[in-house]
């Protein structure tokens, strides 16, 4: 006998299990309509991949999972898709959602399946993919996609697999009957899970002691398998022992940390129905298209368990069991403790529907009117999570959110034990649900506003930073200009050639892009220290979290630390690179351009430096040629894009056209400059150099000045002409646009007209 642990609280409601265990799991006739909601699980609803009118076979996929956290849906019988529309779904809220409706053809023809006799031959990913494609979700009630649960994060070693056959809710016997009739399949499913989880050394099958037949059947199957890891554990009947948290506590004595997952303790819990479904999905290739459901209640002639197709309307199931509606009839999907009342009889059986309870009013009387809370504390004695339900009730009533969270409202599992024992008949769970909803909403809103505030603050920061950078650039440019002047004077004092002008130009150009290397270094050092401090902070945070044993955040923090470490390395590298760079450039005296140019390139790291240096080493003519080439290339791309846009008739065509024109303009400019430079160079080389040095210097200065003047004049003229040409073009365009707007009687005629007039004015001004 294994040791079992005691859980706090709990209640002993009337079992009511005998009504539905009298006969074997039965079947019912084919319903006239199959309704398959797209959201039968936790996570994103599936996406239909069929069309109305299409014929489908039994087991054919009708909807594929939408993203990672989702599950596929399959046709539960062969027939025609009669509609894909919104229907009321099996959900506590009674909301409407997308459903695929199948009109069965009555033949129930299976689609070709993909069985696998020996799954150990398959890779784990392949098995997981098959489970996912079979649309298997937790069948105990929550509907958590099984493929995700069976594949915990790699840093978690799962050593214990728990199969939940507790079924602590009154009335429900679906798992009980499944264990009695298909114990072998359950255990094979468990072994499949073990294969997936690798490190499992014990399989605990938890069953309440009110199911002796099920316990015997499971024990017999376990003996037959002769697997030493399997332990069938029975424990005293108490509601809610079947809750995942409670079951883990009973079987292992461990508690899942608040907000955490069982995987943190090396435990995975699966419902026994899920085990069977997985086994069938892998070995027989059958997707999840039917399940065992308890049909029970005094308004029914026949109470039993049935293996029913997913999507069968509940009304049809009831009708098949001789349902006679009572006064103030309720139909409960699930058990009397945690189930919810169905809105109408057209909602379907889904993957998580383990019971349909159709009680008579006498059997489950309607709740009596609530009396005042007398703080008797019975709820507190019943609470399995050791909460203070009556305190939560008072705080819920006064909407004291802070107090509610302080009293751990979110650890409430909504089992209903407190409401059950309340002598004043206060619907306590309702209060908690409402409060949870309110708090979640508030949190979401807060997150949203925090995000908005952060964005605003960051924007402000960016603006300030940009402003400062601009200022710094301006300052640097001024400095560079001064230096260049000095340099020019120096060069003028020495024998010089005609390139002086170009050199100063180049200096000016580079200086405008330059940031002072000292500030650059300071910036990099700052980046490094801040990255280091971030790392330290993350480490400290991790430490405190370890102290509090807050496992859920530990992972997140560890990854954060890794990131921070990477950042520190990155920053360190950058700084090193910068230092090296700086040394190299300063070891080349008399080349301020190179020195300056190396600084901005540091921003992009060491690699970026060499092209920049290369660029500097290039002569002006080469540079210009390269510029022309690059502009040509860009023009090619732009033209291409424009053509494409024109063909596709996209609204950006106009903008693209403008871009192409601009590039053309630029290209002609650049070509002109190149030609000019070629002339200059030839002129320089033809100059006689045999004159005495002073004359040469004077001549050079004169020439340079003259040339600069000429160039300035020329470019001015050119510029003007260009401007006029482009303005004319723009005027033409504005005119056509205006005309078009007039034709179409656009609202913006006035704006267009205004723009046109302005352009005209400009033209007259320039010319």
């Amino acid at each position: 006998m294994r040791q079992i642990w005691e859980t706090p609280g709990g209640i002993h409601p009337e079992q009511n299990k005998h009504q539905s265990t009298g006969e074997q799991i039965g079947t019912i006739a084919m319903p006239p309509e199959i309704i398959l909601p797209m959201g039968q699980h936790i996570g994103a609803p599936a996406t239909p991949i069929v069309e109305v009118g299409q014929t489908v076979l039994k087991g054919e996929c009708v909807a594929k999972p939408e993203g990672f956290f989702s599950a596929a849906i399959h046709a539960s019988t062969s027939g025609t898709i009669s509609a894909i529309e919104e229907r009321t779904i099996t959900h506590p809220s009674g909301m409407r959602a997308l459903c695929v409706i199948i009109k069965p053809d009555g033949k129930d023809t299976w689609a070709p399946l993909n069985p696998c006799d020996d799954y150990t031959q398959l890779s784990k990913d392949e098995i997981l993919e098959r489970i996912r494609n079979a649309g298997i979700v937790g069948m105990g009630g929550a509907g958590f996609p099984t493929a995700i649960k069976a594949n915990p994060k790699s840093n978690r070693k799962i050593t214990t697999l728990i199969l939940n056959g507790t079924e602590c809710e009154p009335y429900i016997t679906a798992d009980d009957m499944l264990m009695r009739e298909r114990a072998d399949e359950i255990l094979l499913g468990a072994q499949l899970f073990c294969h997936l989880l690798t490190d499992v050394n014990e399989i605990l099958i938890g069953i309440e002691d009110n199911k002796p037949e099920a316990i015997a059947a499971m024990q017999a199957a376990a003996n037959a398998l002769n697997d030493e890891r399997i332990h069938v554990v029975s424990f005293p009947t108490k509601y809610p022992s079947g809750g995942e948290k409670q079951l883990i506590q009973i079987l292992t004595g461990k508690e899942i940390p608040s907000g955490g997952l069982p995987a943190q303790l090396g435990i995975v819990v699966q419902n026994i129905g899920t085990a069977v479904a997985c086994h069938r999905a892998i070995v027989h290739g059958e997707p999840l298209i039917s399940r065992v459901t308890t049909v029970v209640g005094q308004t029914l002639e026949k109470q039993r368990n049935i293996n029913v197709l997913m999507g069968t309307p509940i009304g049809f199931v009831l009708q098949e069991h001789g349902f006679v509606s009572d006064y103030k009839q309720r139909i409960i999907v699930g058990g009397p403790m945690m189930g919810f009342a169905a809105d109408n009889q057209n909602v379907p059986i889904i993957k998580t529907t383990n019971c349909i309870l159709a009680p008579s009013t006498k059997e489950l009387p309607l709740p009596a009117p609530a009396q005042p809370c007398i703080r008797c504390g019975m709820c507190e004695q019943a609470c399995p999570a050791s909460l203070l339900p009556q305190q939560l009730y008072w705080f819920s009533r006064s909407e004291d959110v802070e107090k509610l969270e302080e009293h751990n409202l979110f650890d409430c599992i909504e089992c209903g034990a407190c409401s059950y024992v309340c002598p004043s008949n206060i619907p306590l769970v309702q209060y908690y649900r409402a409060s949870k909803g309110t708090i979640k909403l508030q949190r979401e809103e807060k997150a949203k506003s925090d995000h908005a505030r952060l964005r605003f603050e960051q924007r402000q920061e960016r603006i300030v930073k940009a402003e400062a950078e601009k200022e710094a650039k301006r300052e640097a440019r001024k400095q560079a200009a001064l230096e260049a002047k000095k340099l020019m004077a120096e060069k003028a004092a020495q024998p010089a050639n005609g390139e002086t002008e170009n050199t100063t130009n180049a200096v000016d150009k580079t200086a405008s892009k330059v940031v002072d290397p000292v500030t650059q270094k300071a910036k990099l050092t700052r980046a490094l220290t801040s990255a280091q401090s971030r790392l330290e902070r993350a480490n400290a945070q991790l430490q405190t979290n370890i102290d509090e044993d807050n496992g859920s955040r530990k992972d997140a923090l560890q990854s954060k630390i890794k990131q921070a470490e990477l950042k520190v390395n990155d920053a360190q590298n950058k700084l090193d690179a910068f230092n090296k760079e700086h040394d190299i450039s300063s070891s080349e005296p008399g080349t301020p351009q190179a020195k300056n140019s190396s600084a901005p390139s540091n921003d992009k790291g060491k690699d970026a430096t060499s092209p920049a240096l290369k660029k500097m080493a290039m002569s002006d003519a080469e540079k210009q040629a390269a510029a022309v080439a690059s502009i040509e290339k860009r023009l090619g791309v732009a033209t291409q894009k424009y053509k494409e846009a024109q063909e596709a008739n996209t609204p950006t065509a106009d903008a693209l056209k403008l871009g192409v024109e601009k590039l053309e303009q630029k290209l002609s400019d650049a070509k002109a400059v190149l030609a000019q430079q070629a002339n200059d160079v030839s002129a320089n080389t033809t100059q006689p150099v045999s004159k005495n040095e002073a004359d040469a210097a004077l001549g050079a200065i004169e020439r340079a000045q003259a040339k600069a003047k000429a160039k300035a004049a020329m470019t001015d003229d050119e510029k003007k002409q260009d401007q006029i040409a482009s303005l004319k073009k723009r005027i033409d365009k504005a005119k056509t646009r205006l005309n078009k707007a007039k034709d179409e009687n656009d609202d913006n005629i006035a704006a267009f007209e205004n723009a046109y007039n302005k352009l005209q004015d400009k033209l007259t001004q320039i010319s």
Binding site: I11, P13, G94, P170, K245, E255, P257, S258, G259, G315, Q329, R330, I331, G334, P336, M337, M338, G339, F340, A341, A342, D343, N344, Q345, L357, L364, L366, P367, A368, P369, P372, C373, I374, R375, C376, G377, M378, E380, Q381, A385, S386, L387, L388, Q390, Q391, E402, E406, H407, D411, E414, G416, S419, Y420, C422, P423, S424, N425, V429, R433, E548
Partner: protein, 354 residues
């Protein structure tokens, strides 16, 4: 077909708040019998008058608050308050005293705070303390227990005359002068110079008793029986009463002083005298005004036990239960604050934010 839409859980344990209250009333029956046996019909008159006034005031206020009178009267909470105050008052108390007491209990201490469940103080004890402070003489006039009176008790007519007309209670064959006598607690407190043994042998109130005073010991044992019944019925948990009795017993043992002349009485004496058992099982277990968690109730009960010992031993009041309970009612939210149970999945109890 549209079905009825209600939320889970769909089933509940049969029973109502009224049933809890009725259980409390049933549990007082042994105590009522014992009191009536030793102090006569006056106890029953107290109960009847208190109940009538209690229900009357409750109905009046419900009417003024425009509430459903029968629905709220059916929770029997007013009746419980009436019984508790009726049992706490000395027998043959004048009717107007009971009326004043019930007025303060029901109207001031309960309904003005919002009715059942909202009262921070135990209503019966508020009524009792108001009377004790305002009318100390009437409130400390306990008649001599019957066995010391030759088994004689006041007749019904004499009792009614005393209660309604203020006539002196005249009992034929009274052995002691006057009809009232000191309670065991008063004897113990007023004892100077005598060893406990001497006191016990000298005084018929002790010498004719088994443990701790004629009549009183049986009254306490009867209330203890009622309390055990309520614990068995799970109307309340053991935490508050047992910790109160333990604290009282420990203090009594510490100050027993081997039964010397300065002794304050043995633990057994303190357990079985005055309102100890009545307080432990019927007053401090009032769920509305007590601490909420199990640990909280242990602290709550223990502190009451300490205060009862201090007040009954060192003050001039007949007993300390009422004051002790009211003082700790004050402190209950404070106790709750520091005794929250550890929730599932939490390492230690959640730290309170200031």
């Amino acid at each position: 077909m549209q079905f009825l839409k209600v939320t889970s859980p769909h089933t509940s344990k049969q029973g109502q708040a009224g049933n809890v209250m009725l259980s409390v009333i049933y549990a007082t029956i042994p105590g009522i019998i014992a009191l009536t046996y030793f102090f006569g019909v006056g106890v029953l008159i107290n109960l009847i008058l208190a109940s009538l006034f209690g229900l009357g005031f409750e109905a009046l206020i419900l009417y003024m608050r425009q509430r459903d009178i029968t629905f709220y009267l059916k929770d029997y909470s007013a009746l419980v308050t009436a019984f508790l105050l009726g049992l706490a008052l000395p027998a043959y108390t004048p009717w107007w005293l009971i009326a004043v007491g019930m007025f303060f209990s029901i109207v001031i201490a309960k309904q003005l705070y919002g009715g059942l469940g909202f009262n921070p103080f135990n209503p019966a004890m508020i009524g009792y303390v108001v009377l004790l402070i305002s009318f100390p003489l009437e409130m400390s006039s306990w008649i001599t227990p019957a066995p010391l009176n030759g088994g004689e008790l006041p007749s019904l007519s004499a009792a009614l005359g005393k209660v309604f007309l203020g006539h002196e209670l005249i009992m034929e064959g009274a052995l002691l002068d006057g009809y009232t006598s000191a309670t065991p607690l008063e004897l113990m407190r007023q004892n100077d110079g005598q060893l406990v043994n001497q006191l016990y042998s000298d005084n018929p109130l002790f010498s004719q008793a088994l443990f701790a005073g004629v009549g009183w010991e049986w009254v306490n044992i009867a209330f203890l029986a009622g309390g055990i019944y309520l614990m068995y019925k799970r109307v309340f948990t053991w935490h508050a009463p047992i910790s109160m009795l333990a604290a009282l017993g420990i203090l009594a043992a510490v100050f027993y002083d081997g039964g010397s002349s300065s002794s304050l009485g043995s633990p057994l004496f303190h357990w079985l005298t005055g309102a100890t058992m009545f307080g432990a099982f019927f007053i401090i277990t009032d769920p509305v005004s007590s601490a909420v968690s199990n640990r909280g109730r242990i602290v709550f009960g223990a502190l009451i036990g300490v205060l009862i010992f201090v007040i009954r031993s060192f003050s001039n009041y007949p007993d300390g239960v009422a004051f002790a309970v009211l003082l700790l009612n004050f402190a209950a939210p404070f106790i709750d604050y520091y005794t929250k149970p550890r929730t599932y999945g939490h390492k230690s109890k959640s730290k309170s934010k200031g």
